[in-house]
Symmetry: D2
Subunit: 356 residues, 4 copies
């Protein structure tokens, strides 16, 4: 099968670089257009980008000329697909413009995550939420559409919440995260602030952690999404770790549950059938570690090529019902790889086609 | 007033070194005896000790000859006072022997913290628990007694719990700690394990965090201690920070409480009157920081010479009632300084006297 | 004696903050004017500054209104004294303007360090170089003058070089530094770059390290400075350390020298007599540590309140003659405190007077 | 070709684990015997080992029963081959015993590195030194032999030294290393010692760095090795980096050399022809990086799967002739992989054969 051509909006930033790196090796997609800021427009990508994420600029993309971020890109495909790595304010302005111009916008930005009828999507968790796409198109009179990924801190905690919701019902969660530096982008956190220290504050993160799971775990029925009836209390902390967000979670479930039942639910849960078709979805999506000192960011962030959840310390909570720890790789599962998975799902479900 | 002579049991270990350092500059106490392991017995302290805590061996103590840890020490005082920095297993064996021999044992070890009639003591929180001392002496037929300090992780979270208990009643707490390396002693955690990482496990710490507050916040009445009716769920994590334990806490209170009320309670709470007489108790015991990114271990651990609690991010908890962050210096308030404060209280209350 | 009024140019930056903090507690000087960028002009210092260096804004300075950096400041004193914490480019433009307007400019900036007739000054090393001041004034037709401090990396290595130059003669030095993060200012180095890493590059630093010692160790005679005849090869590295620059140095001396002779020279060397009058100069200026694993940045950077040099590992070099390690605190001895010491020397030598 | 059976001595330690991990995926070798300490003898390897190096115990080796480290192992092969990951003192005692019993001992230990007639070997640098093997056998009357790898700090600096020796002659070198934590084994350095710090001391390392290059760069002629006529001055430092040793080196060459000539020499140098046959030797053995801020440990340690040297900052030295920085991965090129490469060379040269 011929690869599906795609564009990357904001390709010179760090999230954009990660998209470029991952898509360069992707079996289904091929980057044919990159866009960037005024400073970089008109230059070859290899010259416009300040590549900071390790490895090097992929050869297949290095010579693309950086385009302005405007909806007149020569991508091809039906609809033309763009991955958005735009900063929030640009995303807020430009993503609807691209959707109105007929593009499929697969975004990692936060601007429209909580907008009605925009699917907030993790294929293994709520693939049916793409059913919102036609509603979104009809409501906004858009030929294209927007599909969003959740915040990387939300992602770190979410899969066990989904498993427990399915198995026992889910009522409340107290979440404390220990988040890595790469979540703040580059240059991000000053070394002067974080060496020998913890910063118990990440702007806007607590609110995202408290709201996004309600949408991710909501029910899509009869053309509408009902948010999950769930209360969350979140405290996000920055720690001196390069990659990998650790979430410490206590949950109140719909019925009394033992740790053994909770562990069994985690070990037997299977993602929806359609995920088997997605090349980036890992075979072993949820790694349960029985050791008392796991998961650990450095040891577990790369499980499943950075796309698996590693879960451990599933225990009785003496205040709510069950507590656990979970880790994901924030710049892979929690960012670029997550959006690419979303695009794979859109292909599998027929929302995105190759060259016509 | 002449200084009160004291001994330090296990003076060559890291906790013992901290005792020696702090007591060398203490206005009330004077170290006249140090004990150590077989390897060091008979040598001058300066030679027997491998001093690792910064500064240098205090001159006034450097030439003391290390004694065996046995209850025949030439201390003087009524009763003779020993600070115990013994490892847990030695503490378990030897502390009762010293109490039975008439010594006042002021211990930092965990062995007898939860033993009935042993006061688990923080002078600013439960000074009346020393009322257990005569009960302890009568029950065990000991002329001496044991008084214990709580675990350093318990200490980090406890003062706001006390304030809220006093003001609103306290029912449950979910506690997640981010604990420093010095809490593990020396050499403690391998740098190979903790650089670019978090270890979500500290042996025995969760259980201590779940049980010790019930005793600290219990009520002493009619010669007996009633544990506080309180459920706690704790998750202790080790982070790459040198000193200072950060606790992230959500609490369910006895009545609905706004963050403003909680903050007001923290800002107006006063320690018991007797604490004003204790030279080590800081003037500003509870530092409330209104900034969204405080407290931070490196910036706040030294507040009040390492003896104050710094509290911040007092907010509504969407699951329980109120949440907050608190930091203390684990090797000062949470260890040696805490025990020295206990001894000061014993002096102020008349349980310890100087040379007769 | 009434305190000498001074101004701080660029008082809102991190170097400026350090000046403000140190001068607030200074026995001789009193900050009466602070200047800042356009954004902060006209606001009280406490509001204009983003205080990042720990502690808090000193009360005596907090309410000063930030002034524009122009030579019409109401300071008083003969001449009026300003400490310059300006960024290099502003320093290049403005410091001569202030000198021309009659100010004594005591600068930490690099702009005029190597300019002819500007003393590059460390009071304990070359106090006689202030003899260049009248030459500088005459040459430039300035009523005021500029006096500069060396770069913080130069400072870390320099005192032993001076001692060896005095004792044995000094021909060449190979210097490799391990420099701390605070040397890069704030926010400075991204945590993403330096955790689990070393960056073997600090822009411009190698050249400063190779040239500044020639001036510092030069001879002032007959109204002119002769640079020291000295060849230096320098490699500056950034390491994940908060404060304290470590220099590893091998030197070729004027005559064969044993490590014992070198150590004896270090231990017996005395700073010039006039330094005893300077309140900030530490009693123990050069701390020689005989342990094989010292000096270490975290353990030794605060020696002498951050103003001493700690030297160790003085050994035979198998290629040149002698090698050694030295540490200083880069933001104290290597920056603000160093400049304040320079001003103290100017007072002691009569170049600066109090209120007339 | 059938794989060559090998044993691993001291297989349960961290170096032993690395041997096991690398050999499990090796195209030529197959681990059939593992030995360990008394505590682990008789247990399956997976139970005896405390696996700390990441990944997991390889399935093909997990069920091997740990044997005592004695020269009666059932390995097969002519001669039977053992990789030695023994601690120094055990290596000193046991390696000659194995050689005397007919084993080919390929060791990573330091015990016999400098022993006369033991090749200190890096295949890409001095493959002809294996010519010492028959001399060693004759001298000691051993049917087997010992071949050693250099210290990991020596390794980090050595390849450019070899290139320059070949091209220009080499007279002296001043070497300062910034070495990673994994070089100290596990648990190795305490986190309490190294966070926010540098330790300028690694026991015995300076002497190894000063002596081993003389042997590695020596000339084997007429059945004897002549040490290189070379003076080295070394200062080893431990920095808070997980893996990768950085060496900062200044060299005096046999003739005046420009940086351009030095860079050209590095870029055109080719390892001996025989290295092309060795499966572990990387295609791109010497990576020259022109950027001013490279090499960096985290970014460059994994070049060539941890077997390449990355070299940069080749500049004029103002004291000697040329200076440069070099990095290798200390637990791969500098330890286990290096020894495995040695064994590959021994196969290619016919000193080791498969099953007879």
């Amino acid at each position: 099968m011929a690869k599906i051509p795609v564009g990357v909006l904001g390709a010179t930033g760090t999230v954009g670089q990660r998209f470029v790196q991952l898509l360069a090796a992707h079996p289904w997609f091929e980057v044919v257009v990159v866009t960037g800021s005024e400073r970089t427009v008109g230059r070859p990508y290899r010259e416009g980008v300040n590549w900071v994420i390790g490895g090097g600029v992929p050869d297949t993309i290095a010579d693309l000329i950086v385009q302005p971020t405007a909806p007149n890109l020569d991508i091809g495909g039906t609809p033309p697909v763009v991955f958005s790595a735009l900063p929030t304010n640009e995303a807020r302005e430009l993503e609807p413009v691209f959707a109105a111009a007929g593009y499929a916008v697969v975004t990692n930005a936060s601007a429209y995550r909580m907008m009605e009828n925009v699917p907030l999507l993790i294929p293994e968790i709520n693939p049916d939420h793409t059913g919102l796409i036609p509603v979104q198109q009809a409501t906004n009179n858009w030929p294209g559409f927007i599909v969003a990924s959740p915040n990387c801190s939300t992602t770190s905690a979410i899969l066990p919440l989904k498993v427990f919701q399915d198995a026992f019902g889910l009522e409340t969660a107290v979440i404390v995260t220990l988040q890595s530096l790469s979540g703040a982008g580059y240059p991000g956190v000053s070394a002067m602030d974080i060496i020998d220290n913890v910063i118990p504050y990440i702007g806007g993160e607590d609110v995202k952690l408290e709201n996004e799971p309600k949408k991710l775990l909501g029910a899509f029925q009869n053309g509408a999404l009902t948010l999950a009836d769930l209360r969350i209390s979140a405290q996000a902390n920055r720690v001196p770790v390069l990659d990998g967000h650790l979430a410490s979670v206590s949950v109140k479930l719909g019925r009394p549950t033992t740790p053994e039942e909770a562990i069994a639910a985690l070990q037997t849960w299977q993602p929806p059938q359609i995920c088997r078709e997605l090349p980036t979805s890992p075979l072993n999506l949820l790694v349960y570690r029985p050791e008392p000192d796991r998961p650990q960011p450095r040891l577990d962030r790369d499980a499943g090529d950075g796309l698996a959840w590693t879960v451990g310390k599933v225990r009785q909570c003496h205040v709510l019902d069950i507590r656990y720890l979970a880790i994901t790789h924030n710049t892979l599962r929690g960012a670029a790889s997550g959006s690419i998975l979303n695009a794979e799902l859109l292909v599998a479900q027929g929302y995105i086609h190759g060259k016509s």
